[in-house]
Subunit: 344 residues, 2 copies
């Protein structure tokens, strides 16, 4: 017997009519889940990313456990930077570290344009495996970081409080930084195109740190390398641009050639829609910490989210990744309350 | 001979005509300055705050070194929380730590309402000393944190990435958190009133983390304790409300009973003014990392800032604290370019 096909997510991406609002959760394959932690116990983070069978296993977990309407490949946005020749370490409890950050034009010589099939083949293997195992049950999302956000980690050498190396470079030598961003964009095009070839049915681009820039500087610095990617991928699969802390950039990103705009929780979707106009589906945006509240409150917030999103195509999600301290039961309450619809 | 009196800053706060735009810099008494580091070498951070002669000394340094138009007391927003009974540690390189954070309603019993003259008298002594030493040369600013921002440190136990304890509490037990915020507001009223009595000629309230909330939740959670303070201080000295990452809250904070709104660098002041209307002076908002660029670029940005702020009363500043890696020469270039005026 063939399994039922749930393509609600893809139809919502394209702005088509859907029977109900689809829902998935950023970082849904993650540490909040005991099943994920059980896999992670035996293997470090990068090995998990690089072992297609294990990456596929944790990618599938939330489909069963939460009943979400889309799968998103378990991977990390920084993998292509490692493939470009920069050592990448995930120290437990410390987040990503690039021991040799790129901070000046001279450092660019240390980067190379990788053969993505060779250096990132494990990602494409995982995607092929997942498409077979999913068999249409839910769509499969691939993803990457925007060049600006990838550069933020590569230049700072990891996470940062003030991003002074990245931003300092942007004031000191904008042409040199533009070269870095363009180099990252070129590899991203190859990487994301190969994800699509391997079966990714949508691509989400994470711009976690795009909001560091004002609109004028975002347009000048962050937009060109991002558009290089978007234009190269145009006409393939639905593209989702997610920006965190970008309330001041909404009018600016409204014209990006993507089908879906993902936003954080800082503004209701109705307000976002007023600013960006009717041309895009919206994805988001419940505050992830709302899932730390009681179930009745989670349900109330889910219904409010449906009401806020009702003015156009909507894919329900959190406004940022689910927090490790969230209980599976609470994550499931959110998914169920969305899937019941506004009246449920 | 009496020194010249520079009250440009106070007149700009009140929306009065000024010959030129006044300028000061958040964290102007700070680690970027070798003279500050020389003092700090011999004394830990909290001792520096608590020794009026030393606090006054570093407060005065940038008046001579940069020629800014206002002095701001060297202190820390968290001092009143220590006075409320919570141990506060500044571990080198780690930022502030509360070893016993307040995370549940039951923890409120550990807080008391301090006699501020007794527990924070060193702050008022420093202010009195400074007013004598300044003798009208430039106005003296006192400051505190908003209850929401103070609570963020007290609940998380220090700085935080996701603020999950604070925000989780807000969903789980909003009444308990409201009680904490109100308790902090009560002590803040006593603390800031005493600063004014001791000679502070303006008060800046830092809402570094106000932007974590959407407008509806900011109004419900963060506004009542803030307004308690603002109403108590009304009619005394000019009040400045500074919000970081608050682009989505500008329309919401526009009606706060303060004379000055301080903002970060993410939106040009002209856009901020369009949203908040003509009733307030604006303070800010050059990106602190712009001071890491070349002097010609700093000058260009300073002139652009003057043009952006020209639609109403403006106090030039950075959009956030000056970074430790900034050179004194670059900070001075910013101050001078502002003081020359748009044509300079």
């Amino acid at each position: 017997m063939s399994q039922p096909v749930n393509d609600l997510f893809l139809r919502a991406c394209r702005g088509e009519a859907v029977e109900r609002v689809p829902v998935w959760i950023m970082r849904q394959a993650g540490r909040y889940s005991p099943r994920f932690r059980a896999v992670r116990e035996n293997v470090d983070f990068l090995t998990l990313c690089k072992t297609p069978e294990l990456a596929a296993e944790v990618t599938l977990q939330p489909i069963d456990e939460l009943g979400v309407d889309a799968a998103i490949l378990f991977a990390d946005i920084l993998l292509p930077l490692e493939a470009m020749g920069k050592e990448l370490i995930f120290a437990p409890g410390k987040g990503p570290i690039f021991p040799r950050p790129v901070r000046r034009r001279e450092d660019l010589a240390e980067l190379h344009r990788p053969d993505v099939e060779e250096s990132l083949g494990y990602v494409f293997d995982a995607l092929r495996l997942l498409r077979r195992e999913l068999a249409g049950r839910v769509p499969l999302i691939g993803f990457g970081g925007t060049p600006w956000t990838l550069a933020s980690y590569l230049v700072e050498g990891g996470t940062s409080k003030h991003f002074e190396h990245l931003l300092g470079w942007s004031w000191r030598d904008p042409e040199g930084l533009a070269e870095l961003l363009d180099t990252i964009a070129e590899t991203s095009v190859a990487y994301l195109s190969a994800q699509i070839d391997a079966g990714a049915q949508a691509i989400q681009l994470f711009d976690t740190w795009g909001g560091l820039l004002d609109a004028e500087r975002w347009n000048r610095i962050a937009r060109p390398p991002l558009e290089k990617i978007l234009h190269a991928l145009a006409g393939t699969v639905p593209l989702i641009y997610y920006i965190q802390g970008g309330a001041h950039l909404l009018a600016t990103v409204a014209d990006l050639p993507v089908q879906v705009l993902g936003v954080d929780w800082r503004q209701p979707l109705s307000a976002v829609r007023r600013i960006i106009g009717p041309g895009k589906a919206l994805q988001g945006n419940l505050d992830p910490t709302a899932l730390l509240g009681p179930v009745e409150e989670i349900r109330r917030q889910a219904k409010r989210l449906l009401a806020e999103g009702a003015g156009g195509p909507h894919i329900a999600n959190l406004g940022h990744g689910i927090l490790p301290m969230t209980s599976v039961e609470h994550a499931r309450a959110f998914v169920e309350a969305i899937q019941e619809g506004p009246a449920g």
